[in-house]
């Protein structure tokens, strides 16, 4: 209890005595956490976008002529049991024609008279929840005599999957690198702070201060400064993202953008916790070489 009070007081004094250095440390942590927050937001939105696009995926199973209703239902139920498959809907060739008519809009009259020899085919439309399950569906129905043709955005699926996977790995790696960079920056700032007070530390050791008493004020200092910087970064990013999300919602309607509440609810705390942790760990690393006898 005494130690906590003492350390807080000393950390406060330390920050006041080395005002400029303290501000620089907080700013360093703040900038690093700002970049981290931006990356996290980018990653979250990319994941959201990939998810969104994947959810639009659909596999159409065109049925062979003469497939009975029972065979059709059996096929539908077996396909719907594949993992990652959503709803399986039967679309008759009449319904398909109707859709075509709707799609033609004003020019629907062109389709008049086509009903009698409708060239379209009955189909099962398989909803896909997870892009990776497309292959499973294709594999399952490949040799089924009821299915005459399978249609899906083969190339699109493949490209989308590889791109989103790459993006996720890349962003994870970048976030990791940023974390390490922040750790080094804070370690250096605290090291400067320790260096500025090396005489004080030498005297503390001389008069019988334990390692804990010497170490904790610096750890508190690192923790407080980095958290303050990170908090400032979180506030800034929240404001900026709120503006950007509103702008996107109004002007880029086709782009699915996550709301501030959905993202900053976890990005904010994540950034502050990361900042605080790196601050404390950085301080600890900086102190190592000064705490030998």
């Amino acid at each position: 209890m005494w130690l906590i009070g003492y350390c807080l007081r000393e950390a406060g004094k330390g920050m006041r005595r080395n005002g400029f250095l303290s501000i620089a440390t907080a700013a360093t942590a703040g900038i690093a956490m700002l970049v981290l927050a931006i990356f996290l937001l980018g990653a979250a939105n990319l994941a959201h976008l990939a998810d969104y696009v994947e959810r639009q995926l659909q596999v159409s199973l065109f049925l062979a002529d003469g497939v009975t209703a029972e065979q059709r239902d059996e096929l539908a139920s077996s396909v719907s049991q594949i993992e990652g498959v959503g709803e399986v809907v039967f679309v008759s060739k009449e319904q398909a024609l109707e859709r075509l008519r709707e799609a033609f809009g004003e020019n629907a009259a062109l389709l008049d008279g086509i009903e009698d020899f409708n060239p379209l085919r009955d189909a099962l439309e398989v909803g896909i929840k997870d892009g990776t399950s497309v292959a499973a569906v294709v594999e399952a129905v490949k040799d089924d005599p009821c299915v005459s043709e399978v249609s899906y955005g083969k190339e699109l699926v493949a490209r989308l999957l590889s791109v989103t996977r790459l993006l996720r790995i890349g962003i994870l790696a970048l976030a990791g690198l940023l974390g390490v960079a922040t750790l080094f920056l804070i370690q250096n700032s605290i090291r400067l702070s320790v260096f500025a007070r090396r005489e004080e530390i030498a005297i503390m050791r001389l008069v019988g201060a334990t390692d804990a008493v010497i170490r904790w004020p610096f750890i508190f200092e690192g923790l407080i400064l980095a958290s303050a910087g990170a908090a400032l970064a979180a506030v800034t990013v929240t404001a900026a993202y709120a503006w950007a999300a509103r702008f996107a919602a109004l002007n880029l309607v086709f782009l699915p953008v996550l709301t501030v509440r959905a993202t900053m609810g976890w990005v904010g705390p994540a950034v502050i916790v990361t900042g605080a942790t790196t601050g404390a760990v950085g301080a600890l690393l900086a102190l190592r070489r000064w705490l030998r006898d």
Binding site: W2, L3, Y6, R17, E199, E200, A202, I203, M204, R205, L206, V207, G208, A209, T210, D211, V213, I214, D293
Partner: protein, 235 residues
């Protein structure tokens, strides 16, 4: 209180600072450690507050062998040993009161106790009226007395002084020495490393003479260059 048994210290750069030193300094004793620069005086003191470990032999302080002492026990050893240096080692951005209080705060003493104790030790060195001054507003003699007050704050059993008068004028030096003698009379073991001949000659105390790391003489009531009442060799 302080025992050296066959102590040698060789530094990493192969400099031999102490050779086969045997010493016994009792409780409440006052002794000078004299000798030319580089004779090993500072090393001898540093071994007592365990800033260094001997290469050979053992150092026993207050019944504890420093060679086998755990790292975590060192701070508690040092709370029983006050150290005063030639360059005072005061913190320039703390005033007199804070410089002394510092030594008590880091041991976890309650703040009200700290205030009381700081006032006491500043009284001992006659600087209570200057407790709000900063080190650079004080004379060298006053700064060294602040440093002495800090060394005394934890009521140590041992007080070590490494060339304490080195940066002081003769008058301030003599005044500081009188303080050190008074402290030893109150039961603290005081060891003063110095090459200030006039001071050693005036005080006629025990004088341990080092040359090239060896104790060449150890005499009671002696002067800087040896004296009238030999004690009979080293030991």
């Amino acid at each position: 209180m302080i025992e050296f048994h066959d102590v040698s210290k060789v530094f990493d750069n192969r400099v031999r600072a102490l050779s086969e030193v045997d010493l016994f300094i009792g409780k409440g004793e006052f002794a000078f450690v004299v000798g030319p620069s580089g004779a090993g005086k500072s090393t001898l003191l540093r071994l007592i507050y365990r800033a260094d470990l001997p290469t050979k032999g053992s150092v026993i302080v207050d019944g504890r062998n420093l060679g086998t002492m755990r790292r975590s026990a060192i701070p508690f050893l040092r709370r029983n040993i006050g150290v005063v240096f030639q360059d005072f080692k005061l913190l320039p951005r703390r005033n007199v009161h804070e410089n002394v209080a510092f030594a008590l705060e880091v041991t976890g003493l309650a703040r009200s106790e700290t205030r009381k104790r700081v006032a006491q030790v500043l009284d001992v060195v006659g600087l209570r009226s200057k407790q709000r001054s900063y080190p650079d507003e004080l004379s060298g003699g006053e700064q060294q007395r602040v440093s002495l007050a800090r060394a005394l704050a934890n009521s140590p059993k041992i007080l070590l002084a490494d060339e304490p008068t080195g940066n002081l004028d003769p008058e301030a030096g003599a005044s500081l020495m009188r303080h050190l003698v008074e402290i030893s009379l109150l039961g603290t073991t005081v060891l003063v490393a110095t090459h200030a001949k006039p001071i050693v000659d005036v005080f006629r105390a025990r004088v341990i003479r080092l040359e090239r790391g060896r104790v060449v003489s150890d005499e009671e009531r002696s002067g800087y260059d040896g004296s009238l009442s030999p004690r009979g060799g080293a030991g």
